[in-house]
């Protein structure tokens, strides 16, 4: 594999540019209500799209993943901390897989 460092540099540069341009160029608060509303909804949509259905492929079985998914939603809804939601979702997957296999 030739030029591996150049490849890594190009990947890092492109990725950093995507991340840095809006944050450094947009130095004021948008007054436009539509733009503000759009950006308010962005995290919810983007993260929800990323979570489902790809979570179902993350573990050894879609069933254990589904139980982990529901566990996380219930705990988050009841106000558990980030750490607890994450850890107990893992634990629920572990238990379901013990029962399955």
């Amino acid at each position: 594999m030739n030029h591996v460092y150049l490849y890594i540099f190009i990947m890092a540069a492109v990725t950093y540019l995507i991340r840095v341009l809006p944050l450094t160029f947009v130095r004021r608060e948008f007054k436009n209500r539509y733009v503000r509303s759009f950006l308010y909804y962005v995290p919810y949509v983007t993260l929800a799209v990323m979570v489902f259905p790809s979570i179902l492929d993350a573990t050894a079985s879609p069933w254990s993943a589904f139980v982990g998914f529901i566990t996380a939603i219930l705990l988050a809804y009841r106000g558990s901390s980030l750490f607890n939601v994450s850890l107990l979702a893992c634990l629920s997957v572990f238990i379901v897989e013990l029962l399955l296999y």
């Binding site: 890594i8 991340r19 995290p43 949509v45 893992c90």
Partner: protein
């Protein structure tokens, strides 16, 4: 106590589960990097400088296949374009007077999860919170890569499988609590997941890469929501 130090410490606290989840993912990345013929230093360097999962996995395949430089740049642009929108959202979450240097450092750490916890902070975001999260998440990402590439499969499969939902759990913990008691946000989250499922399963749509899917659905759903349910001033800030 110094406000910046307190923000940093909160960031570290929320960064710990991110780091654990990252180790599970980057461990797999390290194993694949090894199979693809990468030297441990190269794989860890890629993780430390790119700090992104899907882009790096694609990068391994492209580099191994000696892809054109233009091709690898374009692939990263498509896969990682969602960070552009995240960066925009963060530009409104921080104080407008935040100096350039803080913006430039924060930007490096915009991963899906670091972005998620940063947006979940009540009120304006102190850059030191994000630094705190990055200061544990990034070493976790790099360390997992190193362990994966030098050791191969040391994690028991059961443990690896269980840890694989850690990051999803984090993201759920970010989006669900604000949706409690808000029919609009709950509806938007459910709709996002249903459309995401359709994009993954329907014949023509499933050929679209996940990077494109994320950004297309975000524009459509958040765009529609902004027209139908414009938020009040005080809501849009937090």
């Amino acid at each position: 106590m110094n406000a910046n130090f307190k923000a940093w410490r909160d960031g570290v606290r929320d960064g710990i589960p991110i780091a654990l989840g990252y180790m599970a993912v980057s461990f797999t990345f390290g194993i694949i990097a090894k199979q693809t013929g990468f030297h441990p230093f190269e794989a860890v360097l890629m993780s430390a400088t790119n700090f992104t999962s899907a882009g790096q996995f694609a990068g391994l395949t492209l580099i191994a296949g000696s892809a054109a430089f233009f091709e690898i740049a374009l692939t990263q642009l498509i896969i990682n374009s969602r960070y552009f929108l995240m960066s925009f959202a963060l530009s409104q979450k921080i104080d407008p007077s935040t100096p350039f240097i803080h913006r430039a450092i924060m930007a490096f750490g915009i991963s899906d999860e670091v972005f998620g916890v940063s947006m979940a902070v009540p009120g304006k975001l102190n850059p030191f919170y994000t630094y705190g999260a990055i200061s544990v998440a990034l070493p976790g990402w790099a360390l997992g890569t190193l362990l994966g590439i030098i050791s191969g499969n040391i994690l028991p499969p059961r443990l690896n499988s269980a840890l694989s939902v850690a990051l999803y759990g984090m993201l759920i913990a970010v989006i669900v609590p604000p949706a409690k008691g808000s029919k609009i946000l709950s509806g938007i989250i459910v709709l996002s997941m249903i459309l995401s499922l359709l994009f993954a399963e329907l014949p023509l749509l499933s050929s679209i890469s996940s990077g494109v899917k994320i950004i297309v659905l975000t524009f459509i759903i958040a765009g529609m929501a902004a027209v139908l349910f414009p938020v009040k001033e005080e809501e849009a800030v937090s």
